[in-house]
Symmetry: C2
Subunit: 335 residues, 2 copies
């Protein structure tokens, strides 16, 4: 049975933030399904900041060729084909891309474990590679958080940030979240349990961090970069603080002119470390991470609110929303 795939592709590159006219939409029929391939009906796509970096030449993620379907991770259900242990009806995770139906090698996809009441969408939510696992790896494997730590999180109302706040609270830390606007700050405190919420749009962030953490910051989980990274560096604990560099959403629209952290010499002054990480580099710990997160979900200690955009035609708008900060929690697209 042929499937009609509706896909979103890149029409042109642009310096700075993409615009709606940089994206095209078209329907294509999937006629042939080669051996070892499957057709996946895409259920939910994870809207991640890294997608933006594939839309500019010279990006640190591989730049998407013009005309190619916008890359995105997602979950879906096999509707045709098989191989590599996959059969029709199976739920999978992988690089399904911005489309309604993905034709992909079975070997490139991961079959989902749906035991213990886990839902497929949890794999782009609390258990997602770019959401829950990224939060866990940065906080626990990279920053090696301890219960006595004061933890600062930027982009705290986003998907990764929301998970970091909750994982740190579950481990007994004092948690300070930074987000934009009073609604997000209320969300941080009321929904996620952050001890302090700082609105970067209406506060002197460095002064607020200093007030909230008089003994300094032990762990900073950074999704934002720029001035917020400098504010954190200025407020590091006297020794052995750890910064996990997850991303720098404030810098992605002009990667040729990144604002380097002026206060980086605080690392030397205070015997501190700033560690970047690639989540897949820590795959050996994913089973441990998933087990911890799943247990916290069952206990009601982790809950990742979802902001779902419906219809693949709205994919580009959803991507721009991610950078405008117009969402709270986990932004996804359901084709």
């Amino acid at each position: 049975m042929p499937h009609t795939n509706r896909r979103v592709f890149i029409r042109q590159y642009r310096e700075g933030m993409p615009a709606l006219e940089d994206f095209g939409i078209e329907d294509l029929e999937i006629a042939d399904v080669p051996a070892g391939h499957v057709v996946v009906k895409v259920d939910t796509l994870s809207m991640d900041a890294w997608i933006r970096t594939t839309l500019t030449p010279g990006s640190f993620h591989e730049t998407a060729p013009l005309g190619s379907t916008i890359r995105a991770l997602g979950v879906g259900q096999v509707v045709e084909g098989g191989g590599e242990g996959l059969a029709i009806g199976d739920w999978v995770f992988g690089m399904l891309a911005a489309q309604t139906h993905a034709l992909a090698p079975a070997a490139s996809l991961t079959k989902l474990d749906l035991s213990n009441s886990i839902q497929p969408r949890d794999y782009v939510g609390p258990l997602g590679l770019t959401t829950g696992l990224t939060a866990w790896v940065g906080l626990i494997a990279v920053a090696e958080v301890k219960a006595s730590d004061t933890v600062l999180v930027s982009g705290a109302a986003g998907a990764v940030g929301s998970m970091v706040v909750q994982l740190a609270k579950a481990r007994g830390c004092r948690v300070i979240g930074i987000a934009g606007g009073p609604d997000k700050c209320r969300y941080l405190k009321e929904k996620l349990g952050a001890d302090v919420a700082i609105d970067y749009k209406h506060a002197d962030v460095a002064a607020e961090v200093a007030a909230a953490a008089p003994g300094g910051i032990d762990v900073f989980f950074d999704n934002v970069g720029g001035e917020i990274l400098d504010a954190a560096l200025a407020n590091l604990a006297p020794a052995d603080a750890r910064i996990a560099i997850c991303g720098a959403i404030s810098q992605y629209s002009d990667l040729a002119n990144v604002r380097g952290p002026k206060n980086y010499l605080k690392l030397a002054e205070r015997n501190a470390a700033m560690k970047g990480f690639v989540v897949t580099h820590h795959a050996a710990r994913f089973a441990e991470a998933r087990a911890e997160i799943a247990a916290l979900m069952r206990e009601g200690k982790v809950n990742l609110p979802e902001h779902a955009v419906h219809g693949i035609d709205h994919f580009a708008e959803a991507l721009l929303l991610l950078f405008a900060g117009g969402h709270t929690g986990n932004l996804v697209v359901q084709p």
Copy 2:
């Protein structure tokens, strides 16, 4: 017996590089030696970049009060007083400052272990806190160097850099040194055994590093900061590289406007860490460090050439020489 102390003090602060007229010289008699104090005849002072940072308000090392003797670490011999296990004739290390005779609490000084043919001046040389121990701690305790690593060192012809090059070679690493000018580059290769020497004054450093380390840099020991740090970040190994931030001599004359590393997101792209360190924070490992360095000295594998300036009256000139890069190896002043 009263001692006449000739001392160098700070007369005025200045933005940017200090000038000779910012320093004063005077003779003062040491009349009284309180109980528990000693008078030390200063033998050799270590000329360290941190001294510069005490001469400007708002420095990350404590700013020296106007009129105070310029701080400096050094070795000398007790000529009067005693206490805390010190007696006349003992050799000591400590904050002796820019002067010929230091009056100091005995408890603030460390008695030197001169067994195994170690000379007092070795404690401001290969075994010095700010020279050999700093190199060892950054390379071994902080960057956790392995024999298979390609190691890049900036300021490689300075005292710390010279030690890093030799320690890394002794551990079996491939070593690339960066220094200014052909004489220093010759010194790196011929005296220290560096595999590659890059003259930052006459080369595109990023391109030369890329050519010298096609597989990328595993360890970068940074004394310089600025563009050289960015060049190293651009050339990190694909995973698990470690940068030890020892200092940033290129940035000390304008600490209010430090050039932050624009390429810091390479840390996230390549799962790398940038770690600052305070050498005294790693004091638990000093015995191990001294034993390794002393053994290498006996085997002739470590040798730290000395550039000695004679006469306390030339202290300020020597300090400016340190920043002008007009020396090779270990710059010291002998009052």
